[in-house]
Symmetry: C2
């Protein structure tokens, strides 16, 4: 294992989270310390920044602002959704990357994101191997969706889960306050995997959560749902339902596209839009039951609420970035940093390395045996899994009553 | 001024807030201390609980749980929307109240709410005076809308404003993260007064807020708005807009009822619904500009987010409840407790008493001179006004990573 001297480049990709910048801080601060890393660059808008030679010289940033990245939500360097074609199909982007890497002697490549981003990372890694360009490539996981394969959980999930569970508990207090009750529909992100919606079960575990929880892992039956919601409403005078945005019926049709005229929303190009599921379901429920209904979408707030983040998640996010650098300097390449939970009552997660080719594009869903058959929630297995991930409170330092987020100078690297 | 010995009854009314229970704690804990107050009752669902003899004996509650009310959102005793007819029109409810008050020797009446609730409180006060039933009646203010007349501000507003400003700052980080930008519409509560939407200007003051802010105090011109939003989007690649749910055009038509098929949403009874304004506007903007758009509704979260409350607000809410009791015991009646701000750079508010007849049903709107003519925000006068109200952080004690809210026993008073 030889020492490899050269510059490092780091990028953020995909949907932001409350803690993706904590991983950035881990990568950047650790890389700035490493003797073998001669420069640390941050890509503007992920891989696009590398392709267009738009990246920042991170050594120009104030240490205090880099520290603040730990508690600053969203992607401070800018994100991107750009899918690299396979190099067997089109080599253009790869040639450009190689040219840039050579020009700046970039020998370390760190990429922070979810499934698609690990695909990018994997392709870059494989291409550079094939080209004989010596480079250490490491993926740093991130996704509120928690659907990355091979790791116990993903940085970003714990904070989103904590926010969702907390807000659900608060809505629970609010939604049942009148003498005349209502049916409340909470819409949570998650197209294919129900991890985020399942987090509302943590609120139920604390005695203040939904009566019904619907995840995309299971076909949604509108009639069964309506019957259940109506029965609960008649019995208790209130009913709270949590739904994943991506629930579908047995024919694969999104429920957000259903029935009422509300559901006929098309965008300017005639595409049906996801989102608006809460409003759609609330309307259907109202027509059926006559009950007062309210649809609530957690929307973007669930992925950027740094004021209600999990300290466990923030620390692990930082650590995953930091360890990616350490392992790369030690000679590892072509891996994603992941977490492996130790058996036993006390929560402890260790870092493990996963081959990039294994994690790219594979989705991890909730085990079906963790989902109660009657849609009333998740089993204790899920609670035991998720509860440790939301422990500890992280929030930004406050300045004049409001959060103080990092302000980066973003000095472009000299060309 | 004679000592008046008897029971006290307290009720919560109207839409809940993050801090209405802090006022409840102030009333209940102070009342339990007072020698002249022989029993302390909490109405189930406000005035309806008094009318139906459904109220709880607050002396049966654990001291620790009563303390927790300070940080428990929503209305722990249950709320109600019930408008008492004037007693000249229909005396039925008043006779019933008088009968109940006599039966339990209730001599102190505390009612916590907004405009409508102060109307209830005022009517009860006047009727009891007219009937010669000696009673001390005090209103305790509460409304996130901040629209109560005669007081510098209302308990509940500071916490809602802090949550809205914080979440807006977080969305600001998130909404401009991609290389391809979008136009984001934030919908904030407030039908007639724009105080809550104005709170997004605090985020702008911190450098992370909306480009455009629209309040119901000013007629909304859709063409002017579209031109402005498009220009900002073209120039900056992003645009964030905050709108009050209650914005109307110059003909008095709600914008949420506008134009696109999206806006044709009717409820089961054929009424147009408020809400959905963000989605409506986002759709109109998308059709006009072709930009990616996103509508975000803060929804119920803005009035129940105790995890992001203002400590100033929590303390003042408690104080207003406590002082209502002290003043009543001292002989005051027929007042609402309000706040008067001292002149000077340092924030200091003193309690003042406002005649109930003056505050009932009067709405306080934002001074027009605080609203910038180009819709780009609020003036420094508003910032100076609002900033002190969001200072200090209040959050519930945490238990296993989630908030621990008060659990009341709710022991019904012996009939």
């Amino acid at each position: 294992m030889s020492a490899l001297k050269g510059a490092a480049i780091f990028g953020q990709s995909g949907g932001p989270t409350s803690v993706i910048n904590a991983s950035a801080a881990g990568v950047i601060q650790e890389a700035l310390k490493q003797e073998n890393i001669t420069a640390v660059y941050g890509m503007a808008h992920g891989i696009k920044g590398a392709l267009t030679e738009n990246f920042y010289d991170m050594s120009k940033e104030d240490a205090y602002e880099l520290d603040l990245l730990r508690t600053t939500p969203s992607s401070a360097l800018g994100s991107v959704r750009y899918k690299l074609k396979h190099f067997n199909e089109d080599e253009t982007d790869y040639k450009k990357l190689l040219e840039v890497f050579k020009k700046y002697n970039i020998r370390y490549f760190f990429y922070n994101g979810g499934n698609d981003s690990m695909d990018t990372c994997n392709k870059v890694s494989k291409y550079m191997q094939q080209s004989g360009y010596e480079m250490r490539v490491m993926g740093v996981p991130k996704t509120i969706d928690n659907d990355l394969f091979g790791t116990d959980h993903c940085p970003g999930y714990g904070s989103a889960a904590k926010y969702i569970a907390t807000s659900t508990m608060e809505v629970y207090q609010d939604a049942r306050v009148y003498d005349k009750g209502m049916i409340t529909i909470l819409e949570v992100m998650g197209r294919n995997a129900g991890w985020l919606t399942a987090a509302t079960a943590l609120a139920a575990y604390k005695g203040a959560g939904p009566d019904l929880i619907y995840l995309p892992e299971v076909d949604f039956d509108i009639d069964d749902f309506l019957a259940k919601a109506e029965a609960i409403f008649k019995k208790n005078g209130n009913c709270i339902v949590a739904v994943s945005e991506g629930i579908k019926d047995k024919n694969g049709k999104y429920i957000s596209e259903y029935g009422s005229d509300l559901a006929q929303q098309k965008d300017a190009f005639g595409h049906s839009q996801l989102g608006g599921l809460a409003a759609t379901l609330a309307n259907i429920v109202k027509q059926r039951t006559g009950a007062k209904t309210r649809g609530i979408e957690f929307s973007l707030l669930q992925r950027c609420a740094a004021h209600c983040a999990s300290l466990t998640d923030v620390n692990e996010s930082y650590l995953s970035g930091q360890m990616a650098v350490k392992y790369a300097v030690e000679g590892k390449t072509d891996y994603m940093v992941g977490f492996e939970r130790e058996a036993g009552a006390e929560y402890k997660c260790n870092i493990k390395l996963l081959p990039l080719s294994e994690v790219a594009n594979t989705e991890k869903k909730i085990p079906l045996e963790w989902i109660k058959k009657d849609s009333s929630g998740l089993t204790q297995d899920f609670i035991d899994y998720a509860l440790p991930l939301i422990q500890g409170d992280s929030r930004p330092p406050m300045e004049n009553g409001l959060p103080r987020f990092a302000k980066l100078k973003k000095v472009l690297a000299a060309k």
